[in-house]
Subunit: 447 residues, 3 copies
């Protein structure tokens, strides 16, 4: 057992606090809001902040112009601000071009967006790849707008600049990597995806202090274009990804949902399934589909990385999705903590999986003479399973799957047997903790 | 997309009309009734009428003597015809030897067949391989027969002659073939199998006018002995069969039923399953069994051809089966048309299946800049699936199976992507319509 | 068909009678009780009684000292025997060391065992690997014990001696073996496992008189240490085991339960599943787990023999398990007979399984001309299945699985076809009965 990977109770509140700090910032796929977000994260973990210039060709795409915004409002003929960016950055369509002028109500309405079914909520809208401007507001406010001339002002810039992202590598004993990725480009939206940002920040903080077999790479990137950019510029690193998870929407009250990688039965997929099964929580397992978050890019056929996705209620299946109702009240500390806990349990299982060889392949060993035989119970049974299946062909995950027992139970049995000389480590499992520094990386060991 | 393969509404009535024309003819596994049937079909499609001499050895069998019948009746002692072949050819046991003589009622009864459970119906009986004679009649009529001497007359011949069958080959771009086979040896019975005869006649007519990838071969044969004869004499053609369907019993009101080939997961099997799943009709899929129609021969182990069967209610599961109640009222134009439509949809999918290669294997392409990005819906999702799985390993059928989308939706997406340069055809799919004449056959391209 | 393997009605009573004869003997994993048991079995079948000296190293274990007991009791201060070994050998903890002395009630109680939930029953306890002594009694009797000094007497010996087991080999045409094993070390307990002992005694008696393809090896051994000892000393024989079953707990009223071998889909597993499915009895199939009886050793990874287990209610799932209530009334002749019958049916299927080759691979043969064509029914269908699948790749068990028909139906069809020259035996099935003596063993024919 490399280390414990257990989450300290109460961490959920700290995660929620970080989200509260990040919430007011107007993020987009580029710009200063994203940069400020990275700087706040850097107060917790030593991410490298990377900048990729506008115009850089990344596969079929081009890094867009950088967008920044200072202020925006709509004033009615009485000079009252009927829409005000300072109250919520959701009011401005993300990537809106600058405007300053008068518009009749009917002209203005072409640029207004509401959610009639939820008249009190403000929608979240973007216009990344079409130069345009617009405002989002609640349908209630929209209904109050009277005829007249409106002063529309958006103090934004859309200019050559950079796409920013944050990256952190925590080297482990081995050079093959676990990729943990989240999108961090959404403005004042909590579940999608400050929850993911916060979870990975805390995960990185925890893992940094733990001995570990794998190297861990954390990405805080703008959605889609960020993943494409990173993959294009980091082919070498991508080739080292042995397991990966995209983390998003992990703060709502819905059941934890693991979406399998395109491979469908990669070790990460099998591990996540077993951990969720054993978690005593409601959960769902869904098959890969090419729609979703950045797993779309990681699982594109030319990469086909073993990258799944951990969420709670999937996007679009909760009405608050992409609205002002995805706010600080929508997410709860306890749910953030539960998600964190399951992620760490998955990583724990990946870390501690390994193939052992029983030293008694022919017939059971005499457990009694070693003091390992007690009244029959789950511990005894786990030992029998580990001994019976440790023929060099099955790793602990195979034993978990076949026995139906939990990973920690199987691991505990394996450790007990190994301590008593009844099991030999076949090198792919985690080495003892008190070993050489995790910074010293060996060559990549593929499976 | 080669062509549409959609069935024109109203075709069911034409199919029913052809059945009505064929219905009165006294067919058998040999003889002039079968020949006349072929000649009527030849008014619709240019089948070749083939004749195989009596005595020809075909595997374990021998082509039997040819049977012909002109008239038959049973007269009571008053000279009244109590059974009359002119009223229905079902009244004479098929392949009855000639008779002319007087019989007591009890002698006669050894040669009479009825269906006591359906006293108004006349059964259908044959005696192909045992020389004998007999009459079939309703149990009601049978019950009225009084003691006395009956004059029995059967003006038939059983002599050396030929086994007749009809064959039509419609060459396509490729020399590998789709085999469509039906038995045409039953006399006045509509569902079994004038429905199949009519459907394949109309299918041949439709396909003849469509550009096509595959060569299509249509067989109108006597059941069992016809399939055995054809397979024995046409080993070369049989070896080119890449997909095949036996069509029978497709005019009743039951759900469409696809019986898988012996292979179980041949492309024809997988295609038929997907088409039926997507057809919004009731349907059944049944596993191969060695009992049934001519799929028994096509799927015998020495051939093991990928030939399934399309029916509605399987034989023997409806009481009208092999009785006079399988008449022109038992089958309906709308059901014939529905069956035709599904067959054509299966052929359409076979024609248009193919393996493509995405031109953007690494990360998704930018759909927006090509005008392919719209609000998310099934079309968008189908494009994502096609791009994600088109790594050269998956054909469209694989994509249909994994995505759960319909074949036409997936194909439409593939075409749209191909038109926009995002997908390359890997040669096994259908070529463009405006290509070289379909008569020019290239060498066989196996999979 | 080698032979019938059907169980004569009424055998259950004889099985029960043998159990009654063995019931009073105080057996253990070594000693004279086990020897006497073997001698009684030898009156039925010619087992060899093998003796392995104390101290023999067998893999990770050592053959223990031999335990024998002549008498034991506990007397109260009035000199009354309150616990008496002569009334039931369960009263003494098996492997108790000798004792002779006075004990206060509280001292004595440290050595007493009861079942409070079943106050009328005496538990069964052992202390094989820890030198100790003890008594078992009903909780009712225990509750009556009054304060005072008790005279405790156990006239046992624990000395160097031997581990005894019985073995019988019935050679067949082939040298590969069917292993049938039971533990015979339990004292006055009927279901666990005199039922297994009796069943294998009768099975050996029956098989001895039947022509057979396989060589049969019967083991009557002490649990765990017996299997380990046998496997250690008989590696050569173990390597010849092609199929095997551990038989235990086959006399209670519960449904027959087959536990699969570690391989999970060995021929024995597939055969047992099909026989039970076709048995018209309640049954259960359970997956392998490394907990249970001697299948633990046979299925240890270094052997991984295709050995399953046949039981009724699994150990520990009935309250009478390992108590005095597992007595002569708990087991019934009819259930013993039913278990015997299913075991023999499994062996029958193993004996008669084989791969055939149809002599008519291309198209069906003409059954009619051979008199094999009758009105359609299961027999006809079985012939069609056998012919269709006998392409040299499928054995009869494959045909049973795919057709859903019973083994005997499929075999009957195969025999009928073979008699008519329509099927050739491909050597792995059983040879005709009237062949050379089964004693003449050929070289091992592995699969």
């Amino acid at each position: 057992m490399c280390s414990d990977f257990r989450v300290t109770e109460g961490t959920g509140s700290e995660m929620h606090a970080l989200i509260s700090e990040l919430y007011p910032i107007c993020r987009s796929i580029t710009g200063n809001g994203f940069r400020r977000t990275m700087e706040i994260i850097r107060k917790h973990i030593p991410i490298e902040i990377c900048e990729v210039p506008t115009g850089t060709r990344v596969f079929d795409w081009v890094v867009p112009k950088e967008w920044n915004i200072r202020d925006a409002y709509v004033k009615n003929s009485k000079g009252e601000k009927v829409i005000d960016f300072q109250k919520s950055n959701l009011h401005v369509v993300n990537y809106s071009t600058p405007v300053n002028g008068g518009f009749s109500l009917s002209e203005l309405k072409n640029h207004l967006f509401t959610i009639p079914e939820h008249p009190g909520w403000v929608p979240y809208r973007t216009s990344y790849y079409k130069e345009d401007w617009g405002f989002c507001l609640s349908h209630d406010e929209y209904s109050k707008l009277e005829d007249g001339v409106y002063e529309v002002f958006i103090d934004s810039t859309l200019e050559d600049g950079h796409l920013t992202y944050g990256e952190l590598c925590l080297p482990g004993e081995r050079s093959d990597e676990v990729l943990l990725s989240c999108h961090a480009c959404h403005p004042s939206l909590c579940n999608d995806n400050l929850s993911g940002v916060s979870l990975l920040t805390f995960a990185a903080g925890a893992i940094a202090s733990l001995p570990r077999k794998y190297t861990y790479r954390f990405l805080f990137i703008p959605g889609t274009i960020g993943a494409i950019t990173w993959l294009c510029l980091n082919g070498e690193k991508a080739s080292k990804v042995r397991h990966g998870i995209v983390v998003t929407g992990v703060g709502d009250a819905g059941p934890l949902t693991y979406k399998k990688s395109r491979r469908g039965a990669a070790e990460i997929d099998r591990t996540a399934v077993q951990v969720l099964k054993d978690s005593c929580r409601d959960y769902k397992i869904v098959d890969f589909s090419p729609y979703g978050y950045d797993e779309r890019q990681y699982c594109s056929p030319g990469f086909n990385l073993p990258v799944g996705r951990l969420s709670r209620t999937p996007y679009g299946e909760y009405p608050e999705y992409h609205t002002s109702a995805d706010n600080l009240e929508f997410i709860r500390a306890q749910d953030l903590e539960g998600s964190f806990s399951v992620l760490m349990e998955i990583l724990f299982a990946l870390e501690n999986n390994g193939t052992y060889l029983s030293t008694n392949l022919k017939c059971e060993p005499n457990l009694g003479k070693r003091g390992l035989y007690s009244s029959f119970g789950p511990e005894q049974l786990a030992m029998l399973w580990v001994m019976n299946l440790s023929d060099g062909q099955n790793d602990l995950l195979d034993i978990v799957e076949r026995s139906g027992m939990g990973f920690r139970d199987v691991l505990r049995a394996a450790n007990l047997l190994a301590e008593n000389g009844l099991l030999e480590n076949r090198a792919s499992a985690c080495s003892p903790i008190n070993q050489s520094s995790p910074q010293a990386q060996g060559p990549t060991e593929g499976k």
